[in-house]
Structures are given as C-alpha cells and as structure tokens.
C-alpha cells in the first residue's frame, strides 16, 4: 500500500499517534471531522518475502509436479501432487496447488474462496409472488408459476446463502406456484365449459 500512515478517510491527512486508539471521537487535524481510529499490530507487520522454491541439487529427490528443477516440499491437499515452495498456496492451514485452488474457487468446493452465490430460492419465490403483489400483472402467473415450480425443484439441493438459511422460500414458492397453476387450470376448464355450454 502506497500510503503507510493512517489517514483521515475524508481529507487524507495523516493522523498522529495521539489521535489513535482513543475511546472517544476526536477531530481530524485536517478537516475537523470527528474520528475514532483503532489500530492493530497488523499495521506494522512486515510482509515476508515470497518463497521461490529450492533448486534440486541431488538426483533422485522428489521434484515439483509443475517445476522439474525444483525440490518438492509437500503434497497438494486437493490432488496429492508434489509441490515446491513456489507452487504451494496455503489456505487456512491447508496446502493447494494453483490448479486445485482455481478449481476450488470456480466449482465452489473451497467454501472460504467462494465470493458469490445466486439465491435461487429468492428468485423462485419472487416469480411466484411478485406478479400477484403487483396486481395488474397477475396474468403473468401463467408463465411465472410453472417457472417458479421448476426452479424450486431444479435447485432444491443447490447451495443457498452462505449464512444459515432454510428451504422455506422454496416451499412457499411451490405452494404459491401450485395454487396459481391450479387456479389457471380451473379457470380454463370453466371457460371451456362455458364456451361449450
């Protein structure tokens, strides 16, 4: 980070040591905006230089899967391939090769790397309920109700929100969608009956 010192978020004035870790809001020396800044030891931590991997000196030693000339230091937790220090990516105490890390991120296998999820349960519930709430669009339920039912069944086992969430939205969507489909069925039946009779 270019600016090492702690700054006021508004005017970017560097704050003095006396302004830090105080119990009350203090005025910024630059803009007089009230601030309370708490700093932690990580601010002063020096980043360790990146490891490059030890070169192979003795024939017969285990080598890295990705670099023939470098000494293997540990196996990948995902695929078991031998890795050198350069290829070793540590994540929460586990060691992965770059390929497994990438695969874990894209396929959602490593939960702590996941940074986006689609909430299919909310989509299904909206498809079932929104056309009813927006009263003038109730006739859209002819299309949205089957879609909501399909989504609820198709994505029943799909990962929901990363924070605790039940399947209540799927259940509600299915109830509403089924009722709407039934309503349409009954309506069409009576329409045909009236046309015939």
């Amino acid at each position: 980070m270019a600016a090492l010192a702690v700054q006021c978020p508004k005017c970017r004035t560097a704050l003095l040591a006396d302004d830090l870790n105080q119990l009350s809001l203090l005025p910024c020396p630059g803009c007089q905006n009230l601030l309370q800044v708490e700093i932690f030891p990580a601010l002063f931590r020096q980043n360790a230089p990146a490891q490059t991997g030890e070169l192979l000196l003795v024939q017969g030693e285990a080598t890295c899967f990705y670099h023939d000339s470098r000494k293997a230091v540990l196996p990948c937790h995902g695929c078991g391939r031998f890795l050198c220090a350069l290829c070793d990516c540590e994540l929460n105490g586990e060691h992965f090769c770059p390929a497994c890390l990438e695969a874990g991120k894209t396929k959602g296998k490593i939960k702590s790397l996941e940074n986006r999820r689609t909430l299919y349960d909310s989509i299904a519930l909206s498809l079932a309920v929104l056309p009813l709430v927006i009263f003038f669009f109730w006739f859209f339920t002819f299309v949205t109700a089957p879609m909501a039912l399909f989504m609820s069944i198709r994505y029943w086992n799909a990962p929901r929100s990363i924070v605790h969430r039940t399947r209540i939205r799927y259940v509600m969507a299915m109830i509403f969608a089924t009722a709407e489909i039934a309503g349409w069925g009954i309506g069409i039946y009576f329409l045909i009956e009236n046309l015939n009779g």
Partner: protein, 214 residues
C-alpha cells in the same frame, strides 16, 4: 442450529453508491470463526468479502452529518403537514382531520423519532494491507462501537495488543519509513533538461559546446 458457522453482527442496511441510493442493494456483517464476513446482496445474488482477524490493520469510525440532514428534511415535512393540518382544522371538523394527523404522525414523526433515538450517524472503514473497505451496515456510532467492542477481543487474540507507548514509537518509525520511501521514489525520477538554464548560441558568435549550464 447449535453449530452455526456465522453469527449475525448487523442487520442488512441499504448500501449507498455515490449520490444515488439503490434501494435493493443491501449490506450486512456476520461474525465467523476467524473472520468477519461482509455480504452485499441485491436479493437474488450475494457477494462475499472476508476480513480475517489476523489481517485487520485499523478500524475507523467517522461521524457523518446524515442524521442532521434527515432531521432537517423530516422537520420540513412535519412543518408542511402541520400547516396543512392547521389549515384543515380551521375549515373542517376535527373528526375529519384526525386521519390526516395520524398519517402525518406515522410517516414523518416516527422516522424523525427513530432517527434521533438511533444516535449520531457514521461511516466505518476497515483497513487491511491491500484495501480500505467501507462497512455500510455500520451506519450509527453506537452500533459501530458495539460491534467494534465485540470483535476487538478476537482481533487481539489473533494479533496481540498495542500499548500507547508502542503506538507512539511504531507510528514514528512508520512515518519515518514513509518519508524515506517517498524520498527514494523522488530520487528515481530523473529530471529532464531544463532548457532555460542553457546558454543560447548566438548565430554570429563562436560555438559554445561544453559550456556549463548557468
């Protein structure tokens, strides 16, 4: 339920982006085993950002004027409603304007009251080695302090604690290192020739090659 991975720290709040506020974009904060989780949601997708306790460098609470601005706007609305009410009272019976008064109270006075009960507004920023992230769900000073008080022991457990003396010494070193880095950066920038300091050859005069700049 007994072994939940995340515990809620704040309810989801509207996330502001520039001047316009997207009503559907919301942000919330959750407490994990070794990190804070910020969830930005638009109801149909969620985006996650994790801040590990070992990486948090600083938390800044900056008081904003949002409460005062809302107070002003709601007071103006309340005055307009009251004027309308007084006008209506002079011309129609009280029973007929009671509903109007009730509506005014619900839509203006209650938010005004809530805005003041919640306390001063603020913006909270969390700093790590690679980013400074705003936490929109912490928008009141009281709530922000409550959350900081809750996560402080976890950060201290992960990183240790700084004494006031240590802060002074280390900040001094940090500022000095910053200044040295800035000086070194400036040295790397090679200044181009400044034409005005060089003598201009006279067309009729003798050649002046090798003449020191003035």
């Amino acid at each position: 339920m007994a072994d939940q991975e995340y515990r809620r720290l704040t309810r989801s709040r509207v996330r502001r982006k520039g001047v316009l506020t997207l009503a559907s974009a919301r942000s919330s904060l959750w407490l994990g085993k070794d990190h804070l989780l910020k969830i930005d949601s638009n109801r149909y997708t969620e985006e996650y950002k994790r801040f590990y306790f070992r990486d948090i460098q600083a938390i800044t609470i900056r008081k904003t004027k949002r409460r005062e601005i809302w107070n002003m706007a709601l007071m103006i609305l309340l005055i307009v409603w009251l004027a309308t009410l007084v006008d209506a009272l002079l011309s129609v019976p009280v029973e007929e304007v009671a509903i109007l008064w009730g509506t005014a109270f619900v839509f203006v006075a209650v938010p005004l009251l809530a805005n003041n009960v919640l306390g001063p507004a603020c913006a909270v920023y969390l700093r790590t080695a690679v980013q400074i992230e705003e936490l929109p769900s912490l928008n009141r000073v009281r709530r922000a302090r409550k959350v900081v008080d809750r996560i402080r022991p976890l950060i201290v457990a992960a990183q240790g604690q700084l004494t006031p003396e240590e802060i002074s010494i280390r900040m001094g070193k940090l500022i000095q290192a910053s200044a040295e880095a800035e000086t070194a950066r400036q040295r790397l920038v090679v200044p181009g020739p400044v034409l005005s300091v060089y003598p201009v050859d006279e067309p009729s005069g003798s050649p002046q090659i090798g003449v020191e700049p003035r």
